[in-house]
Symmetry: C2
Subunit: 221 residues, 2 copies
């Protein structure tokens, strides 16, 4: 009687392999890449527009724009004059590493310092797919409610920073900031946290400071 | 040389078969079932609480509560004193027909007139999974923005009614009602539409009227 030979190996999924290839390619070109995730309407595109407006004099920025179907966001980004690629997922609920690969194919990586990826609006599925980026950022928003970390833990657990957008309407909603922060801390101790308003600009500078610091650390590393 | 025999058949997916079985079971017990879908934080639980509060004197109501993990919503529903079942999807981004089946197993269907299903907060994936219910309803909300029908067409296309919640904060947001409605009409002509505020109660009566009319039509049919 022969016994089966046990082969123990760390098996990466097909997506993880592609994510690693994306990362290697970004690193070869010294492109710092950030993936923005959020519920529909939390303000991903608005934050990208604020970020481009503030940083485009200092850094060369490009955008990969993920959407189910429409070009509404891609058109707004393109109007800023930065290189951008739209990925129409054709109904898929998240970006995956293969879509990012195809985005990288169409961007002049040697002329880019910061690549911003706008994921599909979804607080569940994008958390499961590594893309190969350097930082993952979640944009929450006040009207969604202060209980979201408790209800959508995988997304809150997996990010480097949480932005809380739409603080200009805090007084119109029953939002307990302490409860929200405790939820984040329990899942993701030490995650960076930036309450801000893309509409009024309040608090955006702290997000930009963090982003530039992360970029500089990366480029000096 | 023999040729393969071509078997042409309408093949239902496993999920669709279970959805049909759920429907048959609901019909046998004369339970009218409604599936509520929405982005995270649009107000599904708030609408359910409003609906229970207004209708529980006239109809026997039960709730199937879908959540990734927490019992926050299920606890709020249970406090209303109606039969409710929580389905913890364990990270899954949508309810499917098998989960509803398991919910029905745990409810006293012969003592229920109206079953409300609260899907996982997600504007993409739930649209792809039939549950066996009689009506599908989408809850949008003002802070998400007026462009959501254009960006998330599968969800807007597949529902019987669209609720627009949080109209009490309309003045705080740049929301074009005509643009929003045109987007719905283009995808889903004739869909019922109910702007309302679960917070102030404004407009909720029109939703309740529609729901009761649909229920009566079903029960007389």
């Amino acid at each position: 009687m022969s016994r089966p030979i046990l082969v123990v190996e760390h098996i990466l999924s097909a997506n993880d392999r592609l994510a690693e290839a994306n990362r290697a390619r970004l690193d070869a070109a010294r492109v710092f890449a950030v993936n923005l995730m959020a519920s529909p309407g939390a303000g991903k595109t608005s934050l990208i527009l604020q970020t481009i407006g503030a940083l485009k004099g200092r850094w060369r920025i490009a955008v990969v724009e993920g959407d189910l179907a429409s070009t509404i966001d891609a058109d707004r980004i393109a109007a800023e004059g930065v290189p951008s690629v739209q990925i129409a997922t054709g109904g898929e609920c998240h970006l995956d590493a293969a879509m990012i690969q195809s985005g990288l194919d169409r961007l002049p990586l040697d002329e880019v310092d910061l690549l911003i990826v706008e994921n599909v609006g979804n607080l569940v599925c994008p958390a499961e797919f590594r893309l190969g980026v350097h930082r993952n950022v979640l944009i929450a928003s006040v009207p969604e409610g202060d209980d979201k970390p408790y209800k959508y833990p995988p997304m809150y657990r997996g990010v480097d920073a949480v932005i809380l957008n739409k603080i200009d309407v805090l007084s119109a909603f029953d939002f307990n900031m302490e409860y929200f922060r405790r939820g984040i801390e329990a899942l993701n101790p030490g995650a960076a946290f930036f309450p801000l308003s893309c509409k009024t600009g309040e608090g955006v500078d702290r997000w930009l400071d963090w982003l530039e610091k992360e970029m500089r650390t990366y480029r000096e590393g």
